[in-house]
Symmetry: C2
DNA sequence: CGTATTCTTGACAGAACTCAAAAGTGGTGG
DNA sequence: CCACCACTTTTGAGTTCTGTCAAGAATACG
């Protein structure tokens, strides 16, 4: 059992780092204390499975810390990542017992888990959790659709550039850092995980990352840290138009 | 102005063919009459754009009849379909003014439109629409994720087989027809639309449809009608395991 | 019946995959 | 501190699948 477990358990929701982004974002103090009663923290080590596809789930929850992946696997072993879970992202589907996907911790992950039945009851009885969950699900659907364009129509080079810009966008958002003179991102994914994300082989990923490095689009700082000197340039390489899409 | 317009307008929601599947499925009679006040029908011809990406939308709504597509297009013209809208599917995103996608009628389409502002207000004030919309959005997210596996990891032949099984599944569901001794489906998509769905070129689609026909997996009945003598066989070709996944 | 789409088929090219080996990285224990 | 092992990453060579370009056939439509 890891340290973070006990640390988190002692603090209330008000000190929670994802308080204003997660499924509980809009809850008032009554709702929050109700959530506190049904919640517990759980920590998973890097590489550990959080949920197996087909498993019965008796909880839903939010990623508080770390990164997890949602993957689907065919009988012959071909694997496709269908979701990348960062802090504040929701795991599980209210109203459904089993999981349709494998959920795996990529780094150490702290989950804030809610027992499923009480959570579902709360969704029926108070509006804020359901509303927030709808909003988050619509955002995820938009992300999934953007991803479909990447998977279906982009070249390997564009796919890599797209992945890096998505991660850069999400991590700058989480960390509120300025993006003016270059962005630095921690890439917590192996080449294989990137390949599973993008529908490529790990060899192709490696080749294209090298090519982007050679062309000065990205700079590798150690193994898993990537500097993006010019975000505009990366977006061009990704085949996106330079403005960042619709305002939310 | 088409006949169906005036026909639909005269009937109340109770006679609506999608009454029990659409966003209004769970509404009680009070909520239904409130919806009736903000709704209007609109018909689009085959090929007509219902919404352009980036357009301001002043309505949301449900497909009542016909088939529409959701597509995303890159600057250089590469196009990816990101949603296939059948009767009862919802169009538009509450809380967002602009559309992120092009919505196009593939056949003649009848939409049941709700003015956006009153609809959003109703979502705040009564629970049933929001709950149903959450459920539908979660279903769409699952479908999008299944599709991501198709786009990222399946071969051209498997992609075609997957598309046909998805359409077969959805149309048998809509029409409640038995699937025992072969299924017949109307394929309302051109080869180009199929290609945009699957991230292929129309030539590859044509070749693989011919191949599946040659191998007896499907039988073409005219141009757009397809018979599937053995559904199990088609599912094998799609690379799916034979049981139909999780029960809903 | 002619024109415009849509679809099919062929030949060829190219991007990504497969198989294979070498190089780099990190952790462990002697 | 270094040797060793497991794992990840890189790079190379050859193959394959799908895309591209082009022409012809089928179908729909006025």
């Amino acid at each position: 059992m890891l340290l973070s477990d006990t640390l988190m358990a002692k603090e209330g929701c008000s000190a929670c780092p994802i308080r204003h982004r997660a499924v509980c974002a809009r809850c008032d103090s009554d709702e929050l204390s109700r959530l506190e009663e049904m919640k517990y923290y759980r920590t998973y080590e890097a590489g550990q499975h959080i949920i197996w596809s087909g498993d019965r789930m008796d909880f839903v929850g939010s990623v508080v810390k770390g990164i997890a992946t949602l993957t689907q696997t065919m009988e012959d072993g071909r694997t496709q990542m269908v979701g990348l879970l960062l802090p504040s992202d929701f795991v599980g589907r209210p109203g459904r017992e089993g999981s349709a996907y494998d959920v795996t911790a990529t780094t150490e992950v702290v989950m804030c888990c809610f027992r499923r039945k009480p959570f579902e009851r709360m969704m029926e009885e108070t509006p804020h959790v359901a509303h927030r969950l709808l909003q988050m699900t619509l955002d995820e659907l938009d992300a999934a659709r953007e991803w479909m364009l990447v998977l279906g129509r982009k070249t390997a080079r564009e796919k890599i550039a797209s992945l890096l810009s998505i991660i850069a966008r999400r991590s700058t958002l989480l960390e509120q850092q300025a993006a003016d003179d270059g962005v630095a991102i921690d890439l917590p994914l192996t080449r294989e995980a990137m390949a599973d994300y993008l529908g490529l082989t790990l060899e192709t990923v490696s080749r294209q990352v090298s090519a982007l490095k050679r062309d000065g689009v990205i700079v590798l700082d150690g193994k898993r840290r990537i500097l993006i000197p010019d975000m505009e340039r990366l977006l061009e390489e990704a085949g996106d138009d330079s403005d960042g899409g619709l305002p939310v």
